[in-house]
Symmetry: C2
Subunit: 383 residues, 2 copies
């Protein structure tokens, strides 16, 4: 496989974009990424989205964005992997360049979720679960994650308050991110006072329903410096899957797809957890953050929450996470979140993260997770 | 790019599968393709589907099929390109092998459309059109194609009856295909008597709403003979796009995406139209067949219908099309149809098409088209 690099990134602010359509968001992020790369044309466009059909009545999305972004005729395909769609689309774009089929491609993650009442959005999100054996019974992702969080608390003997550091850190990191949805700090007391969604999951354990799009431009590493004096290398790109339902799993508190995807990526890059400078993880709920830290082998089993409590996840800690606010505070437009993570990792590696800039940062992981961690897409990026 | 070959194919019968779920169909086709290849494991699975979310409330489809087909942990992603999804999924699978990321992968196209009332299906199919500028006005694909067919008849001076050969040939070719939905002959009189859907498009101009799944197993050409003594080479794989809407096009009777996709494929393969032995084209409506023959440069502009009338599209003609019944008579489970085309082309090239076997057949095209020909995916296959 020929090596692939990122030569441009772009994003829209995350929020409730009632005045912008799905296509507006996708085109805006795509054009921003091309402008960043200093180009006005690509050979192919891949669009990641989970819910464009269900929430916006728009399939054929990649073709639409290609035409409206100004690239008539190019190859364009949509990629879906539930809430991991934003990572998956970069995976396919990477394959397109690595194969030699294309020289310069753009991957754009797009989601518009706020044009519908919340119960409709909740039902649409439940299509990431097993339709016949889980979703048909009315289960929601808040409920499923609440089961995991309660089990975690009981098995490992911790309290709701112990999860607060994930939320506090995410909001702290979002403060200086102009693209983030929630740019205000929260305290442990705010967290404890926040209303329950599905006990023990509260509003502040959860990432928001929102709109947004993010894009990355890829080309072969060999040619990357023709376009950018700060290219970022994709050192690894790996997807792994697990059962959709929790029931068949040996241990619901073990994210096998996250483990497998991360370890495939470590092997591809020839790296170990100790080599990683930061981790853009999929903090859709606080419990997902804890279990992701464990499955990616940054914390022992049952120690993910303690890892956060000990301050390791903060910008000065040994493994900063969600450095621009994460899904929790930057926001979680589901099929776009994985692409936002890669945009943010590239900004860190280029030294363009402003007040959030990490010191000595050379290698980072961006990891996008779908369903109940039934699919995970991991990218390791480096300079 | 390293060359890629097909080493196994599988399919379910096309029809109204009320007793089988989306997953049953996908797993059945996948397992059949693996059995054909003589293997029981793949490195990755790509699923093509347009409507699994809208009609079956199931996204995260590739992960689901991977788990239920018995491949826990592997990479799995869903690909969507409207009614071209079944071709697009093979395109992405080809990139995965060509890049060297995987050795053996399966691409499966899956659609289940008959669990819903027809107006719901019509609305879901309309998500392939521009949601804001076309579908919002209530337009359907039958109506859009009726506009084209009427314009064609007026501009080129032909009658409804002139389109009959497309239908007669498709039904004739489906008779000996055990996987086809409609295995009975039709006559010109049947065609003329068939009830109108959107004048001048009748029931018999149209492909049916139905269920089905088809799968192909790919590996590098270098290793193909380890698995199969009859591998079929993918000589070209090319996607092209156009505007979603008809309004911005210079000439609505010219399928630019079909032209561009076919010509990219010709260039990749180093072939010309005269080298092609048969053409599995996207006969969703008779007018689409005529315009596809023209855009792929087998017939002059305005001569696609005459090309059919002159008998060239029959099994003994100079360019047989839809050799196992096409979308019209084998059936059109939308996100699976493009994969069925490739399965059928492989059967022809292996000499396994039974009563439908073409003589001296070495190179064939399978072409999957989405929306109003807003996206086209072309594969050239050869032995």
């Amino acid at each position: 496989m020929r090596p692939v690099s990122v030569i441009g990134v772009g994003q829209t602010p995350v929020g409730e974009h009632w005045a912008k359509s799905l296509r507006d968001l996708g085109v805006e992020a795509t054009r921003a990424a091309l402008a960043d790369a200093g180009i006005d044309r690509v050979d192919a466009l891949f669009a990641g989205s989970m819910l464009s059909g269900l929430l916006c009545q728009q399939e054929n999305l990649a073709t639409l964005i290609a035409a409206f972004a100004g690239f008539p005729g190019i190859e364009a395909l949509k990629i879906e992997a539930a809430c991991a769609s934003g990572g998956a689309v970069v995976r396919v774009a990477q394959l397109a360049v690595a194969s030699g089929a294309h020289e310069v491609v753009v991957a754009v993650g797009i989601e518009k979720m706020t044009d519908l009442a919340i119960d409709g959005v909740t039902a649409a999100l439940a299509t990431a679960a097993d339709a016949d054996y889980e979703a048909a019974h009315g289960v929601t992702f808040s409920a499923l994650n609440a089961l995991l969080m309660r089990l975690y608390m009981e098995r490992y003997g911790c309290q709701r308050a112990d999860f607060a550091p994930f939320v506090i850190t995410a909001h702290e990191n979002a403060r200086a991110n102009p693209y983030a949805m929630f740019r205000e700090s929260v305290t442990t007391q705010d967290f404890l006072d926040s209303p329950m969604v599905a006990d023990p999951i509260s509003i502040l354990d959860s990432s928001p329903v929102c709109d947004g799009a993010a894009a990355v431009v890829l080309c072969s590493t060999e040619r990357a410096r023709e376009f950018s004096d700060r290219p970022v290398r994709i050192l690894a790109s790996a997807t792994a899957t697990d059962t959709l339902g929790l029931a068949p799993r040996k241990d619901p508190l073990w994210f096998q797809a996250v483990y497998e995807s991360t370890h495939r990526a470590y092997r591809q890059a020839g790296l170990r957890p100790a080599d990683i400078d930061f981790f853009e993880l999929h903090d859709a709920f606080t419990i997902v953050s804890a279990l992701s830290l464990e499955a990616a082998c940054f914390a022992e089993r049952g120690q993910g929450v303690r890892f956060a409590q000990e301050g390791h996840i903060q910008r000065e800690g040994k493994l900063p996470i969600c450095t621009r606010g994460g899904l929790k505070a930057r926001g979680h437009p589901v099929g776009a979140s994985g692409t936002y993570q890669i945009v943010e990792a590239v900004q860190q590696l280029r030294g363009e993260a402003g007040e959030n800039q990490l010191a000595d940062c050379r290698i980072g992981i961006a990891q996008s997770v779908g369903g109940m961690a039934s699919v995970a897409v991991t990218h390791i990026l480096g300079v």
